[in-house]
């Protein structure tokens, strides 16, 4: 069994990754509450944004412009999807809405493989200027990137919770989570609120894409399916509570990373989000009442 010393760096990476999972999880939850859609293409759209940024950086364009383009891309694609297919599928059950986003996932996935072929060649990487500077807390090395990872997670979670509670747009989103039709009759511009939710979620996907590309790998498949870790956190929070999403995301990130130095289970540490989410789903479904309608999840 490794010593506490050996665990320390993994605790740090775990917290940093957990922060990014949290920011993604929050994006997923807010969009679900506002539109009923579980945005399974979240990872894919962030991945493509990161790849576009990488291409532009490789062409010598200033870093910050490339990051901005990444955010714009993921925001725009998500918004476009939401505006076109949101209303078309608005009345369908959540399963159908989520499955449709798998279609977007496939389109993006195919496009990424087409434009950035994975065969041979150098491995790509995104590096942020904060990767190489850091500090030590009690002999643990921490890079600024990792601080950003955790920090962005905290800021987004807290900011979104406040936004939902205290702003008009946020309250409208919460109302729509309850009942879209009734909210519309109250005079809330439902389509505009939804568009805002889609755009916000898309931008968050871009941020997460960049950070994960830096911290984990700039690889289309890896980044596309990393959404599952964030999804796990969101599911543990029953797609409802921002605070719980944050906590769950940190737990997922930390547990996943802390298992790495333990030789016996090291190979299986990536199962953490899957296992935790499955357990959460099963435990939390124990009290369900059989429902007649197909409207509720």
């Amino acid at each position: 069994m490794p010593s506490w010393q050996d665990f320390q760096p993994f605790l740090v990476t775990g917290l940093a990754l957990g922060g990014v999972y949290a920011l993604s999880g929050v994006g997923l939850v807010v969009l679900y509450q506002a539109t009923g859609v579980v945005y399974l293409a979240f990872g894919a759209v962030g991945a493509m944004g990161a790849l576009i940024a990488w291409s532009m950086i490789s062409d010598g364009i200033a870093d910050w412009i490339c990051w901005l383009v990444c955010l714009l891309f993921s925001g725009a694609v998500t918004l476009a999807y939401g505006i076109v297919f949101g209303p078309l599928l608005a009345k369908r059950e959540p399963l159908v809405k989520a499955t449709a986003t798998l279609g977007l996932l496939l389109v993006l996935f195919g496009a990424m493989d087409l434009l950035w072929t994975t065969s041979g060649g150098e491995t790509r990487a995104i590096t942020l200027p904060t990767d190489n500077s850091g500090f030590s807390i009690a002999q643990i090395q921490v890079t600024w990137t990792q601080v950003i990872g955790l920090g962005v997670g905290v800021v987004i979670a807290a900011g979104t919770a406040a936004f939902l509670r205290y702003t008009k747009l946020g309250t409208a989103m919460r109302a729509m989570a309850n009942d879209r039709e009734i909210t519309a009759t109250l005079g809330v511009p439902v389509r505009r609120v939804e568009a805002a939710a889609w755009l916000g979620c898309g931008v968050l996907a871009g941020i997460a894409g960049l950070l994960l590309a830096d911290m984990v790998a700039l690889d289309a498949t890896t980044l596309t399916f990393l959404v599952i870790s964030s999804l796990a956190a969101a599911l543990i929070a029953r797609l409802r509570s921002i605070a719980l999403t944050f906590v769950a995301a940190i737990v997922v990130g930390v547990v996943q990373n802390m298992l790495v130095p333990i030789n016996a289970v090291s190979n299986y540490n990536d199962m953490t989000p899957f296992v935790l989410a499955a357990i959460a789903l099963l435990v939390l479904s124990r009290r369900q009442v059989l429902s007649r309608s197909r409207e509720d999840t």
Partner: protein
Amino acid sequence: MLETTEVAASTRHRTRLRRPATRTLVRGGVIVVLLLFALLALPQLLSLYYVDAMTEVAIYAVVSLGLGVLVGRVGLVSLGQIAVLAVGAWVAARLLFATTQPYPLVLLEAGLVTMAIGTIIGLPALRLRGLYLALITLMVAGAVAIVLASTNFPNGGHGFFGYNGSLVNIPPIRRPSIATSDPAYYRYAVVVAILMFLLVFVHIRTRPGRAWSAIRQSEPAALAAGINTTMYKLWAFALASFVTGVAGGVYAGAAHYLYSIDFPAQNSIILLAVVLMGGAYSLWGAVVAGLLSQLLPALLNNWGVSNDWLTILFGIGVVQVLTTAPRGLADQVPKDLARLGLLLARLVHRPAATTAEGEAP
């Protein structure tokens, strides 16, 4: 306590119930002819490259069949059927290396073990509804994929996992003695596929099929009619896992060497896409799905076009099917390619109709 008029009416209807429609006989005949063609003539006509592709079509048609039962008949979405296929392949490979059992027995065992695993996992999962059930299949599949990546596929080594990392000359997975060549194995695969389709067909036409229709329509109404919905949903899971496990066994023999990169996560999503596009409800849809996912890539490869275009096409297909299907994932109304098939059928029927008119009294 039937009134005489009721008896008369019921007798009239009773006799009508017994005579099978001529249309069904014709359709059956067409299917038999097509199957014979596929079995006998096709391997002679195609190059080895395409024979191998058609073997994959047969395998994935069965996998699509399993998913079709879940999605099209019961209304349950599984996002992890490729992981099930991998499990079936693993079991078959292990048995083929460790024992000298005849191939059909190995396939049966692969199917049964996969079925057992699928049922055990399905039991707690079935309490979840729609979306959550789909997501939990995604989670379980992901976990299975990681385990397989770690334990690897059997390659002739010893021990429970049958994997020896330092083996230099890895033996190929054996094939049935009557079907060692590629064309012969293709025929073997088609025969197995036919058997799996028959198995599902029998299910659909009898009590479980009717129960599944009821459950898909409305679970409370099904319960109120006395149907034990949990049992029938589990049965669907078991059936889908069984046929997919058998398909996995056939895959093992086809591939000779198994690696976890053969079963990437996105394939489960592509599988769902082609099943939706081919039509989740009909058995033909499963065949179409197999062709879409295995023949088209082979064709494109041959013509130097990247398979990524297909991935994009399938993504568009998913969204198109879902936005145009009026009633969710399990829509009986034929879509897209199935609609094309209807058009062709109608063209065939029209000349037949005119001859029939001439014969009518």
